[in-house]
């Protein structure tokens, strides 16, 4: 028994009922970086297998949504997009919005859809949501490609559009968006393990959120037409991201430094809260899922 005390302290690790209050354990994630890479590769490769149109499916959805929005909101409802062709205006909003939804819905199902593998083997669970956010970048890249094609098309048609120099910061904007989607997704995925209700909520919640995120209208228009309810959109960090993306890509609307600062703070907050709950859940979710 005496020898025990002398050797008690050099344990490599300890498995205990609860995680420390906050443990991201970046070192461990780094050890598993190859797994992250392989998950991303798997997600990308398996999507194309046994489809005829392959990655073309990524293009069909934003194109048709943009066409529908243009008909409904611009032609029928008469939303004014200024000098920018309404189709391009909508396509820009939808492309950016799609990346957010893909990240959110993808990560919000992390625990449930991976229950069988999480139940058998341990690796840092956060690898899975991170890999989803990264592999969605490819889809986003393809959709950006189609945007560029239409951008050039309208440009050579003589439409009055131009890039804003701040477009160089566009990748930063996308990273902020990915992190926001990841944080929110981790938060929801943790709740889904116990209360499946959130799974239903996410489906139409994302739909509703889109209307509050200035995807198919300029923020200024809402302030002008519905000053009473415009706070709904003004408190939504996503609205600033989309508004800013359009500002960068099409040079329309306005950029609000205050709004962007607010967005950044919310993103950081959501990410850490999401991470905290995710960490707490990953320890024993397998018993409740």
């Amino acid at each position: 028994m005496n020898t025990e005390n002398t050797t008690n302290n050099d344990w490599l690790f300890e498995i205990t009922p609860k995680n420390k209050f906050f443990s991201l354990n970046l070192k461990e994630v780094w050890q598993y970086r190859d797994l992250l890479f392989l998950f991303v590769k798997r997600d990308i490769v398996t999507v194309y297998k046994q489809t005829v149109l392959g990655p073309l499916w990524y293009l069909i959805q934003p194109l048709f949504t943009s066409i529908t929005f243009t008909i409904i909101f611009n032609t029928v409802a008469g939303i004014d997009t200024g000098t920018v062709p309404p189709f391009l205006f909508n396509l820009a909003g939808i492309t950016v919005w799609n990346y957010f939804t893909a990240c959110l819905t993808g990560t919000s199902d992390t625990f449930r859809s991976n229950a069988s593998i999480f139940g058998k083997v341990y690796f840092p669970r956060i690898i899975v949501p991170i890999s989803i956010v990264i592999s969605n970048l490819l889809k986003f890249g393809i959709q950006c490609g189609i945007f560029i094609v239409f951008y050039l098309f309208y440009y050579f048609q003589g439409a009055a559009i131009s890039l804003n120099p701040s477009v160089l910061l566009f990748p930063v904007l996308i990273i902020v968006m990915g992190v926001l989607g990841l944080g929110l997704g981790m938060f929801i995925s943790s709740l889904v393990t116990k209360y499946r209700d959130f799974n239903h909520l996410i489906g139409f919640g994302v739909q509703l959120l889109m209307y509050l995120s200035a995807v198919m209208y300029p923020m200024a228009l809402l302030q002008e037409k519905m000053p009473k309810y415009s706070w709904l959109v003004q408190y939504n960090p996503l609205a600033y991201i989309i508004e800013t993306a359009r500002y960068m890509l099409l040079n329309v609307g306005e950029i609000s430094i205050l709004g962007l600062g607010y967005t950044f703070l919310v993103t950081v907050g959501v990410f850490f809260v999401g991470l905290l709950i995710f960490n707490k859940t990953e320890k024993s979710f397998i018993d409740t899922v």
């Binding site: 300890e14 498995i15 999480f118």
Partner: protein
């Protein structure tokens, strides 16, 4: 000084029975309310021991309770127990899949677990791609896998299919490939759960051999859970016996196995309740030569059965029994079928008896496996293990070197010619 690589202290795991969902919110709120006031979790105090067959009073059960053990570096430890004894829960806690409710595990080495081979295999990916993916899931780096790729492919014996998607593989091939990946893992501690129950005989032999190499040459620590007692006895030196979530024995494998085999029933009489409207073996009794559970070699041995039949007459009943050795391997078998001799035609209690005039089982521990069935519709009513007994070489001339253990299971008469 002992080199302890893994130490479990007071591990307990509580589960909630019934459907999770209804009422969880109220329990969560109650738990949270206690936590806020700095009080103990109210649901940790309650909970029944985990006996699957009895009706409990509480919604909460302890799947594991106060588990304490230490494993030395390079040791191969077996874990045995009946279904639901808590084996898999223990492995899940060891492999960090789920956290214990109380207690802690301390480790001086990386733990890799093989609770199921082929975890994370993606059917769309090729064999090679899956080797990388599966290896990475199990904790290997890409470099490590790449350096062992040829060995893995060779060990799996799936060379021809290595660039084919795994969905085209036969199930046996998938298992071979998956085990091959796992076999080349190099953690300090390897946790294995009955992965050997798959694959053909040739591959099983290969797998067991590989596991022996891992522990002997690699000096690695292995924790091995299995129902296959002969695999346990060839691979491990020490074994933990779990029963209803508690450690009931932690000894040398031989002793642990004989303890486990005698756990079914320590008496020579086995009784169970009549399952209403279902033919039931309500009593099994063995009459040994020495009385109790001790049987002498080359002596008579009788098994008495009491079968309770329902009100409706059932024809074509069949009763059979096996005598199993300590590794649960059947040694002797006998049966009686209604189609040959009418049995169990009385509504109510029927008696049957079987006698060996001279039972020449070799010294060791044995038990009776009873099967009750109906041959026409091929319904199996009951199958259970009971009445453990010990055979000693009583009254026989002992060789100079004594009666060695496990040299054989059965003796027969015969003579040498020189």
């Amino acid at each position: 000084m002992k080199d302890i690589i893994l130490k479990a202290e007071n591990i307990s795991k509580q589960y909630r029975l019934g459907t999770v969902g209804t009422g969880t919110l109220s329990h969560d709120l109650n738990r949270w309310w206690h936590q806020v006031r700095g009080k103990e979790d109210p649901y940790l105090k309650i909970g029944d021991t985990n006996d699957r067959s009895t009706k409990g009073t509480s919604e909460y059960v302890w799947a594991l309770q106060d588990i304490n053990f230490e494993v030395e570096r390079g040791e191969v430890l077996g874990i045995i127990g009946k279904n639901g004894a808590g084996k898999s829960t223990l492995l899940k806690i060891l492999s960090k899949v789920t956290a214990p409710t109380t207690g802690s595990i301390k480790s001086r080495g990386r733990i890799a677990s093989l609770l199921e081979v082929g975890t994370g295999f993606n059917p769309e990916l090729t064999g090679k791609e899956n080797i990388f993916l599966n290896g990475a899931i199990l904790g290997m780096t890409k470099k490590e896998i790449a350096s062992k790729l040829d060995e893995i492919v060779e060990f799996s014996g799936c060379e021809r299919y290595i660039d084919t998607p795994v969905k085209r593989y036969s199930s046996g091939m998938t298992v071979r490939l998956a085990f091959a990946v796992a076999a080349f893992l190099e953690p300090e501690i390897l946790v294995i759960d009955e992965v050997l129950a798959v694959g053909d005989a040739e591959f099983q032999k290969k797998a067991i051999g590989k596991m022996q190499d891992i522990s002997r040459e690699g000096g690695r620590t292995v924790l091995f859970v299995s129902h296959d007692l002969s695999a346990i006895s060839t691979l491990t030196k020490k074994t933990i016996v779990l029963s209803n979530g508690k450690i009931v024995a932690f000894e040398e494998t031989d002793k642990a196995i004989s303890f486990y085999s005698s756990m079914h029933s320590l008496s020579n009489i086995f009784m169970q309740k009549y399952l209403v409207q279902k033919p039931t073996v309500t009593k099994v009794e063995i009459l040994t030569s020495e009385g109790g559970t001790l049987q002498g070699c080359n002596n008579p041995f009788t098994v008495n059965f009491e079968i309770t039949m329902p009100d409706v007459e059932i024809e074509n009943m069949a009763l059979s029994f096996q005598i199993l050795n300590h590794l649960q391997v059947p040694i002797l078998y006998d049966y009686i079928f209604d189609i040959h001799t009418k049995i169990c035609r009385i509504k109510g209690v029927n008696y049957l008896s079987f006698t060996y005039d001279k039972l020449s089982l070799y010294k060791g521990n044995y038990s009776i496996m009873v099967h009750l069935a109906e041959t026409k519709t091929k319904t199996k009513f009951q199958e259970f293990n009971c009445c453990s007994f010990e055979v000693e070489m009583i009254g026989m001339k002992e060789p100079e070197w004594g009666w060695q253990k496990n040299v054989c299971q059965y003796l027969d008469e015969g003579g040498w010619k020189i």
